[in-house]
Each structure stands twice: as C-alpha cells, then as structure tokens.
Symmetry: C3
Subunit: 207 residues, 3 copies
C-alpha cells in the first residue's frame, strides 16, 4: 500500500482530533487508558456513526493506522505535557485541515453508496462533528459544538460547495479541494472574527 497525500492529511487530522480528546481527558483527570479511549473516540467517532448509518464496516476496523495514530498522540501528550500548548496554533490548523478532509471523505463515501446529496452533506457533517460530541459526552460536559463553535456550519457549507460544483460538472479534484478549502476558510474566519451563532434564549426554564 503506497501512502499518498490524502492518507498523510488523514493521519494528521486523526492525530489532531485525538490530541484534542486526550487533552480534555487530562484536564478531567482521566488515566492513560481513559485518555486513549477518549482520544480514539474523538478521532474516529464521527466516521463510525457515518459508517453505521450507511451500513458499512467502520473504517478503523479495516486498518490499524487509526489505533497507532491515537497511540502516537497519547505519547506526544505524555512527553510534551503542557509544552504541547506552544504548538497551539499548529494544532488548530491541523484540526481544521483534518475537519476539512473528514467532510470531503464523508460526502464522497455517502455518494459512492448511492445516497442523494442531502444525505451526503449530513454525513459529511457527522463525520466531522460527531466525534467531538461523543468526546464531550464521555467527559460528561454539554457538547461544545452546541454552544460556541461554528464547526458544524463550516461542515455544512463545505458539503454545499461540493454539491454545487458537482452539479456544475467541475473536475473532481477541484471540487474536493474547493469543498475542503471552504470548510477551512469558514472555520478560520469564524474563529478570527469570533463569529458564532445566536443563542436560543428562553426566559422560562419550565419545560
């Protein structure tokens, strides 16, 4: 198996997602094993939900590289400890590149399995975002994505760009790159300019 450019980006994304899970686990005083599991679930959870919904064998059961990638991420956290945060901006970039790629992978895998575009856009977003939701459930917090981040909207926009360009019969590589770039751009702009969605407020707690 030759390892191509896409594989490298995918491992970088997996690594960055796993780091985010492991660091949150550390902040919650998990042990090594717990941190590894949370890192792994953060990295592969979204794709696993997608594969179960599409009735496919989860991708990480076909290839040991995701387990290894998470192990490397755990080793990095153990070794660098808080110094890891010097690379904070690098992680944010890796994480965003990983997200962008995950969305494109999710969209294409869904289309390949014969589902319509609106399902593909949903699955692209689930691939990118559900791992973080599962991470937050495991550490017993309200999922961050529901309150602060523009994460999911970036995924949906990336999926819509894919759809638009595919409908216009654009070249596939160009479509992939544009879709991924739009996820990245929306996320970076949202963080830079602190854009977030309005809260749904309710004066009444009664439900």
């Amino acid at each position: 198996m030759s390892i191509g450019f896409i594989d490298i980006i995918e491992y970088v994304g997996t690594f960055a997602f796993a780091i985010s899970g492991i660091r949150l686990a550390a902040a919650n005083r998990f042990d090594w094993f717990g941190a590894y599991v949370v890192g792994f679930v953060t990295a592969v959870g979204g794709g696993t939900v997608r594969d179960l919904l599409l009735d496919l064998t989860p991708f990480w059961m076909l290839n040991t590289s995701y387990l290894i990638c998470t192990g490397v991420a755990l080793a990095a956290v153990l070794f660098f400890k808080d110094n890891l945060m010097r690379f904070k901006n690098a992680f944010f970039l890796f994480d965003s590149i990983g997200l962008a790629l995950f969305v494109v992978v999710g969209v294409e895998k869904t289309l390949l399995n014969g589902f319509p575009f609106w399902v593909a856009i949903l699955m692209g977003s689930i691939t990118g975002a559900a791992g973080g939701v599962m991470r937050d459930i495991l550490i017993n917090e309200v999922p961050l994505i529901f309150r602060k981040e523009i994460y999911a909207i970036a995924c949906i926009i990336g999926g819509l760009v894919y759809w638009l360009m595919h409908s216009l019969h654009c070249d596939q590589i160009l479509t992939q790159l544009s879709s991924a770039a739009s996820v990245l751009l929306v996320r970076l702009l949202a963080v830079k300019y602190k854009i977030s969605l309005p809260l749904l407020e309710s004066s009444s707690q009664e439900v």
Copy 2:
C-alpha cells in the same frame, strides 16, 4: 407521493418531539444549530436506534421531511418564543399522539422484518422513548424517563395491546388504532392522576 392521514400524524408527532428538544436546548442556552440538532435527535433518535438494531437504513435518510419538520419546529420556537407555551396543552397532546403512532410504527416495522413479538414490543418502546433519552444525554441531564414519566410503560402497554389483538386475529386497522389509543390513554391518565412508578431507594450510596 400522496400524503395520507398516517403521514400527517407522523409529521405532527415529529414536530412535537422536535419542539420538546428545541425548548430544552433553549433552556440550556444552546445556539440555533445546537437546538436544531437536539430537536432532530429527539424526533428521530428512537427510530434510528430501532433501524440500526434491525439492520435497516434509518428512515430519515430516505426522506427529507424529517429535516424539514425539525426546521419548522425551530422556526416556530424562534418566532413565538415563550408565547409558544400558551399552546402547552396542544403540544402535550401532539407529543402523546406522536408517541402512540411511533410505537405502532416500531412494532409493525419489526414484525415485517421477521422478528418475534417480544422484540417488536421492545422496538416499539425504543422508537417512542429512546429519542428523549438521547436528548437528555445531549443536554447533560439524567434522562427524565428514568425518574418521573410513565412514558415507557405506556409504550409497552401499547405493544402488548397490539400483540393481544393480533393473536386474536383482529382487523389490522382496528389493532393499530387500539394499540395507539392505549398508549395515549395510559399516558394521559398517568399525567392527569400523577401516577408514577415507585423509586428504587437505597440507603447506601456505596456501590
């Protein structure tokens, strides 16, 4: 596709379930996106678990109407805000009718796939109740259904009524209506007379 009476009830049920999720999300200061997701999960979560257990494609991936229904529910919450609670009794009724229908749909789909009746009753209950459990996990609370509501018992009774009438070779439409009516009746009576299950108490916290 002609839209029949059953479809209309199903959309009403989906709408009412989504409203319950969106309002809880609003009370927890989620943003619009988070509220939409929680509403959607509340509405389709039970049926999704059922379809995954039965190894079927989740129903909402075959039809955009559940996404749209949730969107309408979000718009309603945004537009009416707290005035929405003037219709509190209407929602409770919609929610209960939706529940009743979800149970019947879950029972029938399971039987159609060749499983025995006891699995069908479980799947009917999961269809009706698992969405609310997933909603409560997402907003990081102990599922309401485990402490207060008679919800799940209503589902099980509805399933048992279906089983009984089916065994007695009753007409299918009559069986469906009686099963749904029994879910509705048990739920309404339980709420009206504040009937709930006894708590399991333990003097010792030690586990």
Copy 3:
C-alpha cells in the same frame, strides 16, 4: 435447547452486570423502570456495540433470556435491598467471571466473522467494558473505567493471551480457559493490590 456450562456462566455474568447497573440506578433515585433499563444496558450494552460494529443482529434480540435475567436481578435488588451487599464479594466474583467470559465470547465471535486478531481483541474489550460506560452515561457520571478501574486492561490482556495461544496452536478449550483466567487474575490482583493506571495530569485547564 440444552443449557450447558457456558450458558450458565453467561447468565451469571449477565445477572452480575445487571445488578451493578440497578444498584447504581437505585443510588441515583431512578424508578423501577429506569433501574431495569440501566441494568439491561449494563449487561448487554457491550455486546450490542460489538454486534452493531460487526453488522450482526444484537445477540439479545435472538433470545429472551437476557431480558429475564435482568428482571431477576431487579427482583433480587427489590427483595434483598441493602442486605444484598452482604454478598458483595460474591457479586464481585460473579462480575469478574462474567467479564472474563464476555471477553472470550467477543473475541471468538469477531474471529468467526473473519476479522483479524487485533479487531477481535478490541471487540473482546468492548464486549466487556462498553456496557459499564453506557451505564455511567445514563446515570450522568464520568465513566468509572476512565479513572479508576483496571477493567479494560484486564480485557486487553485476556485478548492477547487468546491470540498468543491461538498462534501457538493450543487446544481451543485450553485457550478459552486461559484467556478467561487471565482476565480474572489481572482484575483480582489489580483490586487486591489497588493497582491502577497513572492519571494523565495537566496543570492547565485550558483546552
């Protein structure tokens, strides 16, 4: 259907797992229904995740005995109340025997479905450990397994022993027994000598 030795151990394990879920539910003031569900999820949750990942019909949908076992466990908790804890050591032993068997069942079912050994070891561990994680999510606590218990490591070691002996062409029964015994041994030793994994500590809460 003749009930063999393996079946009896499996029911004992299911019963012990269900008891652990029901007691935690009682400590959190769940009602009877909630306690039953939490007990059932604790007992069958791990195997259900495994079966969904392997694309098989969940095992408890093929046989009513797991539902009945959980019902007996609920009755035992209701009847004996806190006196149940006189049998604390017996439960710990049952629970550990159940765990050991669940791991072996998970490994073998995965191999039978044509997956490689590293997937089988993961699935053995998921079979043993994921039910407890789901239990802790339902009662809205951080999963115990991520902070204190050596539980999961015992599962992984049991899987590795299975792999090793299988590679050495040992007799199947001997392989099963040795694998189960190693799970049991690691768990008992870890509890006796209070061995746990180091925590991942982080001075910074910032993530």
